[in-house]
């Protein structure tokens, strides 16, 4: 082996050692989560801790599912999240098209107004919005969590605008000359060509809804209507020492997101590098 080869081999080994150590550090909390979720309760506080539960107690999962009505909460969460995702993506795409593709007077003015709302902390509007929903009698229903999604999300509008602008203008102009309406162009050209960006927006919107905690905390008061976030928090407030059940519940809550991520990974990474954005 030549000297140069030896150096590059050592470098490569060192790089992999560092990367492996870091990945292990990042994975460790997840590993600990799963280990704890499979322990019989008496082994949780053992010292020194056991790395492999004995016996592996799968029944923790069954118990967690029964202890807080996991299936009901999953259905509630799916309902809120899926309808919210559909509404946000549809409305944000329309608005993005209106700003990025349609050319009209004052669009810049409206765009500036939209831009400036980003500076406004959510806390400023949260209280009056709560009062509006209260006067409508919507507290305790899913409406405050779903209805606002129909009015577009500024962040997603930006993301989609950036993407729409990369699509050649000639396509739009050609379609216009052929007598295509803007709604047709939006539906038949823009949406078809924007699948990676739409996937990113859908994923962000879905995880945002799945993870949302403050919304359900403010608006839901019947514990049968709770979402997973609120349900898990309430369960912990009541059973703070039952770590095996808490870890089993957390694992069940994390899994769908991770599965969705791997399912969408290819489109997702493509979309992120194309739009250069994050959650």
């Amino acid at each position: 082996m030549t000297k140069a080869n030896a150096i590059s081999l050592t470098r490569s080994l060192a790089a992999h050692a560092v990367l492996l150590a870091l990945s292990a550090a990042f994975a460790l909390p997840f590993i600990w989560l799963v280990i704890t979720s499979l322990k019989p309760p008496r082994q949780i506080f053992e010292f020194p801790p056991r790395w492999i539960p004995d016996p592996i107690q799968w029944s923790n999962y069954r118990e967690a599912i029964q202890a807080f009505p996991f299936i009901d909460y999953t259905i509630n969460t799916l309902f809120v999240t899926l309808s919210g995702t559909f509404a946000t993506v549809a409305s944000s795409a329309l608005v993005a098209y209106g700003f990025a593709v349609v050319r009209w007077r004052w669009s810049n003015l409206f765009f500036l107004v939209m831009l400036s709302t980003i500076m406004l902390p959510g806390q400023v509007t949260a209280i009056p919005v709560f009062i509006i929903f209260k006067q409508l009698g919507w507290i305790g229903s899913y409406r405050p969590l779903v209805i606002p999604a129909f009015f577009a999300n500024v962040f997603f509008v930006f993301l989609l605008m950036q993407f729409f602008r990369t699509i050649p203008r000639d396509l739009v102009d050609a379609a216009r000359i052929d007598g295509c309406s803007h709604l047709d162009i939006f539906w038949r050209i823009m949406l078809r060509l924007s699948k990676p960006a739409l996937a990113v927006v859908m994923f962000f919107s879905f995880t945002g809804g799945w993870n949302d905690f403050m919304g359900p905390l403010m608006y839901l008061n019947d514990d049968r209507m709770y979402t997973l976030s609120l349900g898990l928090q309430q369960f912990m407030a009541q059973h703070s020492a039952e770590w095996h059940l808490l870890m089993a519940g957390s694992t069940l809550m994390i899994l769908p997101i991770v599965a969705l991520f791997f399912f969408l990974q290819r489109t997702f990474i493509e979309g992120i590098s194309l739009t250069g954005l994050k959650a």
Binding site: W32, V95, P121, V124, A126, M247
Partner: protein
């Protein structure tokens, strides 16, 4: 001429129609609430009885409230310690992951994964990791201390903190938890690292620059807009910091108000206590603080940030 005019007018209506969802939402959920909020901040309002005008009294009592200063201090603490730490950490990770090696995408995925974890589940998990007696972190620290002891280095032993039970260590604990989920920031840095033109590094090589000089004089200036963007997002995020503390302290901001952050204090005033006028005033003070901080950051960035090709 008439045709063209008509065309523009048509486009005007079409454009308005497309942005209508946002425009309606803006009027209902932003513009009207802003007006309401200004008025409410000048009132006593408990959500039931009609608001009663009291002028600037809410603002005056906020500036006399010890909890306000406490929450401001806690928030600035986590911003000025947490944001720089997570920027440096995520940039270092991005540089490390910006190599061409076998299996690099697996490493990237693994390090990105934590930021996918639902915040409530993550907070529950870390509360268990921070458990003073049985938590993973303290088990490691105790093990490490034993090793030092047996190596005759007992003097170097690390403290075994009570983390979320100790007013001194609760905020550092939250910062550590934050470092675990820098994946999103890391990914942005990674994408912009890959956009740095290779020719710049080749030019630096020809000039005989070493690794550090290349990072300092090529990578860092090229990344400065992204670093700036992430810093601003970090500042804003610090003032929104809510769910983690709410879950880990059951909404209390304990121990001893050491995790009473601005957003939590505001929420607690508005909802469990129904002091909605007071909380609205808090929200406006928050607005001016973030506005001021953002202006300062912009001022600094005008000198420090390099926009390539702009």
């Amino acid at each position: 001429m008439r045709l063209i005019r008509q065309g523009i007018d048509n486009e005007y209506l079409t454009g308005m129609a497309f942005i209508l969802p946002w425009l309606a939402g803006f009027l209902i959920f932003v513009a009207y609430p802003i007006g309401c909020s200004v008025y409410l901040s000048l009132c006593v309002y408990d959500g039931m009885r009609p608001p009663e005008f009291i002028g600037l009294a809410n603002y005056a009592s906020i500036f006399r409230d010890r909890q306000f200063y406490k929450s401001l201090w806690n928030t600035l603490y986590i911003i000025f310690l947490g944001v720089p730490l997570s920027l440096v950490f995520s940039l270092a990770l991005a540089m490390l992951l910006n190599q061409k090696r076998r299996g690099i995408s697996a490493y990237r995925t693994l390090i990105y994964m934590p930021c996918l974890t639902p915040v409530v589940a993550m907070s529950v998990l870390w509360l268990w990791i921070f458990n003073p007696e049985h938590g993973l972190l303290n088990l490691f620290i105790m093990r490490f201390n034993d090793l030092l002891q047996s190596a005759g280095l007992g003097l170097l032993r690390l403290p075994v903190p009570g983390w979320m039970n100790d007013p001194l260590w609760a905020k550092p604990a939250l910062i550590i938890m934050g470092l675990w989920c820098v994946g999103g920031t890391m990914l942005i840095f990674l994408a912009s690292l890959q956009d740095v033109p290779r020719t710049l590094f080749e030019a630096a090589d020809i000039d005989g620059a070493n690794w550090w000089q290349k990072q300092r004089h090529v990578t860092l200036p090229m990344l400065s807009p992204v670093i700036f963007y992430n810093a601003v997002m970090g500042f804003i995020g610090g003032f929104q910091y809510f769910t983690q503390v709410y879950v880990m302290t059951d909404g209390s901001g304990n121990p001893n108000d050491s995790t009473l952050f601005y957003a939590l204090s505001l929420f607690n005033n508005a909802f469990p206590h129904w002091r909605m006028g007071y909380a609205s005033a808090q929200a406006w003070i928050l607005f001016f603080i973030t506005l001021g901080m953002t202006l300062v950051v912009f001022r600094i960035s005008a000198r420090r940030v390099y926009y390539h090709g702009a």
